[in-house]
C-alpha cells in the first residue's frame, strides 16, 4: 500500500488498495478531508479536499 504525509498535520497517511485519483479520504490523525491528486510513479500526493459547493449533490 502507498504511503504519504497529510498536508495539514504531516501524519503518515496510508492509502487503501485500489485508491483512485480524485478520491476523498480522511487523515486518521487530524481528520482533515483530503483528495488524492496524483498516484503517478507510486508517489501519491494529497491536498485538502475542496469545500462542498452550492451545486454539489446527487
Amino acid at each position: 500500500m502507498l504511503k504519504t504525509n497529510c498536508p495539514t498535520c504531516d501524519a503518515q497517511v496510508t492509502l487503501p488498495k485500489n485508491t483512485e485519483e480524485s478520491e476523498i479520504i480522511s487523515c486518521s490523525e487530524c481528520h482533515t478531508r483530503l483528495v488524492v491528486t496524483s498516484l503517478k510513479r507510486n508517489n501519491p500526493t494529497l491536498e485538502e479536499a475542496p469545500k462542498v459547493e452550492e451545486d454539489w449533490g446527487e
Partner: protein, 282 residues
C-alpha cells in the same frame, strides 16, 4: 469490449462501487475527471462508447453531458433528464403534468407572492427549498409569517440568483421516515427507508437506511415518475401520506453507497448493466 467513460469530479464511495462492479463484468471503465478536460469539439478525441455522468458538481456534470452528446456519445443520464431533475421546480412541474402524486408546490420571486402561494397550498407550516441543491442543504421548514419574512429577506440579501427563486412546497408530516426507491429503466430494483427524528431525512444528514420492500404501489408510482422525467438511472424520494405515496424529488446522479448493504441489491452492478445495454443498442 465496451468502454464506459465515467465522468466524475471527486471520487465518492459510490463511484468506487461502480468501478468494482465494472471489474466483475466484461467492460472497461475510463475515468474522466471533467475538471481536467478541455471540452473543445474541434480537438477532442473520444475513446469510449457510452458515458456515465457521476459528477458531484451538477453544473460541471451538465456541461459535460451536453458536450459528449454533441459528439453523438450517449450519456447516462441524458441532458434532458438532467435538466429536469437538477431543478426541483422543473421536476415538480413534470410530475404534476404527468399526474404523478406529488406535494403541492409553487414558485415565486418575492415575499408578497410567497404569502399568497402558501395560502394556496394549505398554509403554515410550509417548506422552502432552493430549486437547485442537494443533501438537504438550505431547506427551511417555515412555521409562521415571521419566519417566512426573515428567511426570504436573508435569501434576498445574501443569496445567489438561484436562492432568489423561492420554491415553496406543502409540508408533509412524515411517519419519521421517507422512502428512496432506486429506479433503472423504469424498474424499481430496490428501496430503502430513511429513518430520522428530524424532518430532513437525507442519509447525508444522518438518516438511517433500512430495507424497504418494493410494493406494487411503490413500483407503479416510481415507474410513472421515471417516465415523466425521461427515464434512465434515477432515485425517487417518496413520502408516505394518508392519500398514498407521493414523489417528492428525483435524483439523476443518485448516491447509493449506504443502500446496497441493507437492500442486498448491487445497485452499482445494475448501473453498469444498464450502461452495457445502452452501448449494445447503439
Amino acid at each position: 469490449m465496451i468502454t464506459i467513460g465515467l465522468l466524475h469530479s471527486t471520487i465518492r464511495g459510490d463511484e468506487k462501487l461502480i468501478i468494482e462492479a465494472a471489474k466483475k463484468r466484461d467492460v472497461k471503465i475510463k475515468l474522466i475527471d471533467v475538471r481536467e478536460e478541455i471540452f473543445n469539439r474541434k480537438t477532442y478525441r473520444c475513446d469510449f462508447d457510452v458515458a456515465l455522468e457521476r459528477c458531484v458538481s451538477t453544473v460541471k456534470g451538465k456541461h459535460a453531458t451536453y458536450f459528449y452528446e454533441s459528439l453523438n456519445i450517449p450519456v447516462i443520464n441524458n441532458s434532458s433528464v438532467t435538466t429536469i431533475c437538477e431543478d426541483k421546480f422543473v421536476t415538480s412541474l413534470m410530475l404534476q403534468k404527468a399526474n404523478v402524486p406529488t406535494p403541492d408546490f409553487a414558485m415565486v420571486f418575492n415575499a408578497d407572492q410567497a404569502q399568497q402561494a402558501i395560502k394556496q397550498i394549505g398554509g403554515f407550516p410550509t417548506v422552502i427549498k432552493p430549486p437547485l441543491g442537494s443533501w438537504g442543504r438550505l431547506l427551511a421548514k417555515v412555521n409562521d409569517i415571521d419566519a417566512l419574512e426573515t428567511i426570504l429577506e436573508h435569501k434576498d440579501v445574501l443569496g445567489s440568483p438561484h436562492q432568489k427563486s423561492f420554491y415553496i412546497q406543502k409540508y408533509i408530516k412524515k411517519p419519521g421516515r421517507d422512502i428512496r426507491s432506486f429506479v433503472i429503466d423504469g424498474v424499481t430494483i430496490c428501496a430503502i427507508y430513511r429513518d430520522s427524528p428530524h424532518w430532513i431525512t437525507n442519509t447525508a444528514r444522518g438518516g438511517v437506511a433500512t430495507n424497504c420492500p418494493v410494493t406494487k404501489e411503490l413500483s407503479k408510482i416510481s415507474k410513472k415518475a421515471s417516465d415523466a422525467v425521461g427515464g434512465g438511472i434515477l432515485s425517487m424520494d417518496v413520502f408516505e401520506t394518508e392519500e398514498g405515496l407521493q414523489i417528492n424529488e428525483i435524483n439523476h446522479t443518485t448516491e447509493f453507497k449506504n443502500s446496497e448493504k441493507p437492500t442486498g441489491v448491487s445497485i452499482s452492478g445494475a448501473i453498469i448493466d444498464y450502461c452495457i445495454k445502452t452501448a449494445k443498442n447503439l
